[in-house]
């Protein structure tokens, strides 16, 4: 059995933050295309949505009753996906390309 070692190098002093991007109708309703969000604890996408709503009445209003899709680091994900510091989360309405 290897000795248990404490990793002292990987811990960063920086507050865990994620970048949140908004697109299309959601971007217009919120009035901005991106923001930085501090993670108070490990969160899933659904938790990020709840946190955003709690922090800003404008975001709360924009998200209320709207169907929202999420991408985590440029991949479509479900709302139970876990988000880590440094991640890019994009939130947007159902897509209408093609």
């Amino acid at each position: 059995m290897p000795d248990i070692t404490i990793n002292t190098t990987a811990v960063s002093d920086a507050t865990p933050q994620i970048k949140v991007l908004f697109f299309a109708a959601l971007r217009e309703a919120i009035g901005q295309s991106e923001l930085q969000l501090t993670l108070p604890a490990p969160l899933q996408i659904s938790g990020v949505l709840a946190l955003l709503s709690a922090q800003s009445p404008k975001v709360h209003q924009a998200l209320a009753g709207r169907e929202v899709l999420a991408a985590l680091n440029q991949q479509l994900v479900g709302c139970d996906s876990w988000v880590q510091s440094g991640d890019e989360v994009a939130l947007f309405p159902p897509v209408t390309g093609g």
Binding site: A71, Q74, C79, A90, V95, T96, G97, G98
Partner: protein, 185 residues
């Protein structure tokens, strides 16, 4: 089998014959090309008293996208089609920006030894483009603009190609779900 995949997201128009010629190869008996265009649309305007119902005409579509994600998500879909069908080449060109009435929006081209694979792959690629690629249409009429709504029929069309675990694009707002549990019988 190597499948040549060519995906582009661009404001510039495309020339169908150039894309077609690039898809042709000796071992392919079939090339299927689909083009999506900005079509004429009308919407009613406020009626003036005693006057016939006037209508407003669509002027243009404006395509917004997620630049860091669009092209690689199209490429991933093309990769899925290449695994599923017997293909040799796939081209997808999707335009962004302001596209006037009649403009070309999208081209999907597939080269295959036989037509059934080419038709099916083209159909599948369009269904995925409509549902899983981060592109949004804003509809410009002369007197108003609005965002196009996603169609339920497009979602149903996608389900034909999917297994349950592939359906990652889900609504992250739990709207409506709670209503079901409180139905009285």
């Amino acid at each position: 089998m190597t499948v040549v995949i060519n995906c582009r997201v661009q404001p510039e128009d495309f020339v169908v014959d150039q894309e077609y010629q690039a898809l042709r190869r000796q071992d392919c008996g079939a090339v299927v090309l689909f083009c999506g265009l900005v079509r004429e649309q009308f919407q009613p305007l406020e009626r003036s008293q005693g006057m016939p119902q006037p209508t407003d005409t669509l002027q243009a579509l404006e395509l917004e996208h997620y630049p860091d994600m669009t092209e690689h998500s199209i490429r991933a879909i093309a990769g899925q089609a290449a695994k599923r069908f017997d293909l040799r080449a796939i081209t997808v060109v999707h335009r962004i920006g302001l596209l006037p009435l009649g403009a070309q929006i999208v081209l999907v081209g597939v080269a295959a030894p036989h037509r059934s694979d080419a038709f099916a792959a083209c159909d599948m690629l369009m269904d995925y483009l409509k549902n899983q690629v981060p592109l949004w249409k804003k509809v410009h009429f002369s007197t108003s603009t609005s965002w196009a709504d996603a169609k339920a029929s497009d979602k149903q069309a996608l389900a034909r190609w999917q297994t349950a675990e592939q359906n990652t694009a889900e609504n992250c707002q739990a709207t409506g779900k709670s209503r079901v549990s409180s139905v009285d019988v």
